[in-house]
């Protein structure tokens, strides 16, 4: 498995091109083109503000930045997973023509999601300043959170890409799983507002919960990351190892089974 990771690293150039091509393919022929990378998070934010702030009359003055700091991270996960699930089958022709590490496809999906996330930061950072977020030294946790999320997303991408080959129903199931995870995570609301204290430990079993709470804490509230982040870290590393192991174990057979 270590060798496989090394092999993946040797294929930097391939991964770079796949990411560039994915992005340019996605935006080709649109009037706004690459601007959508910035417009998407912005519009998404307004939709939820309309929904939660205006219709449900909820939310605090800092709601927009609380929302966006978790929503961007969520978009990274959903965008990556929903495309990773078909990433092997969608590239069947290439896989059946050339011999190369197939893991580049799900891996690329995680990276493309990360790049969208960086575009999202271009929107988020000015907003953090405009809404007077409580920025302090806790911001130093940010790269660490990114790293945890990258590990988690890559691992999950491997897993769903494998399932996408042998268990195609996953494409439908995944949509609903992601939707449920979204509502069971503190993106639209604050944990302490909505989740009774006695249920919180159970609620935090969702590995995304601590991640989003931590983003909100360090970016907006000027607080320490959630204590449950340690659990999310362990979960992420396990998923990464399991995902990679399963993917590599079956990789040889993908060309035949897609």
């Amino acid at each position: 498995m270590i060798n496989y990771i090394k092999e993946l690293f040797k294929r930097k150039e391939l991964i770079k091109y796949l990411v560039i091509f994915d992005i340019s393919e996605e935006h080709r022929g649109k009037i706004f083109g690459f601007a959508w990378s910035l417009l998407d998070p912005l519009i998404m934010m307004f939709v939820y503000i309309l929904f939660v702030g205006v219709i449900f009359k909820r939310g605090t003055p800092k709601y927009p930045i609380l929302l966006l700091s978790a929503l961007l991270s969520w978009q990274w996960i959903t965008n990556s997973l929903s495309t990773a699930v078909t990433s092997v089958t969608a590239n069947a022709k290439l896989i059946q023509t050339f011999k190369f590490p197939i893991a580049v496809f799900p891996f690329t999906r995680a990276i493309s999601g990360f790049i969208d996330y960086i575009f999202g930061l271009v929107i988020l950072i000015p907003l953090l300043i405009a809404y007077e977020a409580n920025l302090n030294l806790n911001i130093l946790w940010f790269p660490f959170l990114i790293l945890i999320q990258l590990t988690l997303t890559v691992g999950l991408c491997f897993l769903v890409a494998y399932l996408g080959v042998y268990f195609r129903d996953i494409r439908n199931i995944l949509q609903y799983l992601l939707r449920i995870c979204f509502f069971l995570s503190p993106v639209l609301y604050a944990i302490n507002d909505r989740i009774p204290v006695c249920y919180q430990p159970l609620y935090m079993l969702n590995p995304f919960a601590a991640l989003f709470e931590s983003y909100k804490n360090i970016l907006v509230r000027g607080k320490f990351p959630s204590g449950y982040l340690a659990y999310t870290l362990l979960f992420s590393i396990s998923i990464f190892i399991i995902g990679l192991y399963i993917f590599v174990k079956h990789e040889e057979k993908f060309a035949k089974d897609i």
């Binding site: 294929r11 150039e13 391939l14 091109y17 796949l18 091509f21 340019s24 393919e25 080709r28 022709k93 290439l94 896989i95 059946q96 023509t97 050339f98 011999k99 190369f100 040889e252 060309a255 035949k256 089974d257």
Partner: protein, 246 residues
């Protein structure tokens, strides 16, 4: 000097239609009042007991009916399929060429050249160096800057062949890729293939065009139902094959 050595290989596929799903399970239950167990060994051999060697500088033809295992054999040689039985040794860089399959249709010709290049393990600089030759050989001109969905199948073949030839592989596998090119391009490709042969590179050609096989290949393999029916001097094997299909 042996370039490709194929030893008693077999490749099997699971039969898709026997795959368990809800509908077939319900149908079976309604019919027999029982959930029928699907036998575990439900697969077929696309290739079995195939053995031969190819020398450096040899041009080998592969003929056979549709579904006889020709493309499967090429995929085993290219390393895409790993054999379920036997083993195969291949010396050098292999490129497989089949019509338009190695491309992404939403990308331009140039982008696809880079995509194929990096998949094959070349760096950007190396591809930059090959780009001029590839575009000249393809004669596609400004079409190289258009997405591949605007290409005709002949143009796709031109692009694929230009890439494969100019990337300079040690072993070139051609799967019916010449069938759609026009006469002048075909001739240009055959020239290039003959030059490859003189440079002691190995070429495997799958084709239904028996005239081509007879003209260019020293030896030919005849595959039938995944088994090797015959191997030997091209004219002899083609004769046997024609007798058989008649």
């Amino acid at each position: 000097m042996i370039s490709i050595s194929v030893n008693n290989i077999g490749v099997k596929f699971k039969l898709r239609r026997s795959k368990k799903n809800m509908r077939s399970a319900i149908n079976a239950a309604l019919r027999d009042n029982t959930l029928r167990k699907i036998p575990a060994n439900n697969f077929f051999w696309a290739l079995r007991s195939v053995t031969f060697n190819i020398e450096h500088g040899e041009l080998l033809g592969i003929i056979g009916k549709n579904g006889s295992g020709k493309s499967t054999l090429l995929r085993v040689i290219s390393g895409v399929y790993s054999p379920d039985e036997g083993n195969i040794e291949v010396e050098g860089k292999v490129i497989m060429l089949s019509i338009g399959t190695s491309f992404r249709k939403d990308l331009t010709g140039i982008e696809n050249i880079y995509l194929n290049g990096v998949i094959l393990g070349f760096s950007k600089m190396e591809i930059d160096g090959m780009l001029k030759e590839i575009s000249e050989f393809s004669e596609l001109g400004d079409f190289l800057y258009m997405p591949l969905k605007t290409y005709s199948s002949g143009m796709l073949a031109r692009l694929g062949f230009s890439i494969a030839i100019n990337i300079n592989p040690d072993i070139l596998l051609i799967d019916e890729a010449l069938a759609v090119g026009d006469a002048s391009f075909k001739e240009k490709c055959m020239d290039k293939i003959l030059r490859f042969k003189r440079e002691k590179k190995t070429i495997v050609l799958v084709s239904h065009n028996l005239e081509y096989i007879a003209k260019f290949c020293n030896r030919t393999v005849w595959l039938d139902n995944g088994q090797m029916r015959s191997i030997g001097e091209s004219k002899k094997v083609i004769g046997e094959y024609l007798n058989f299909v008649k």
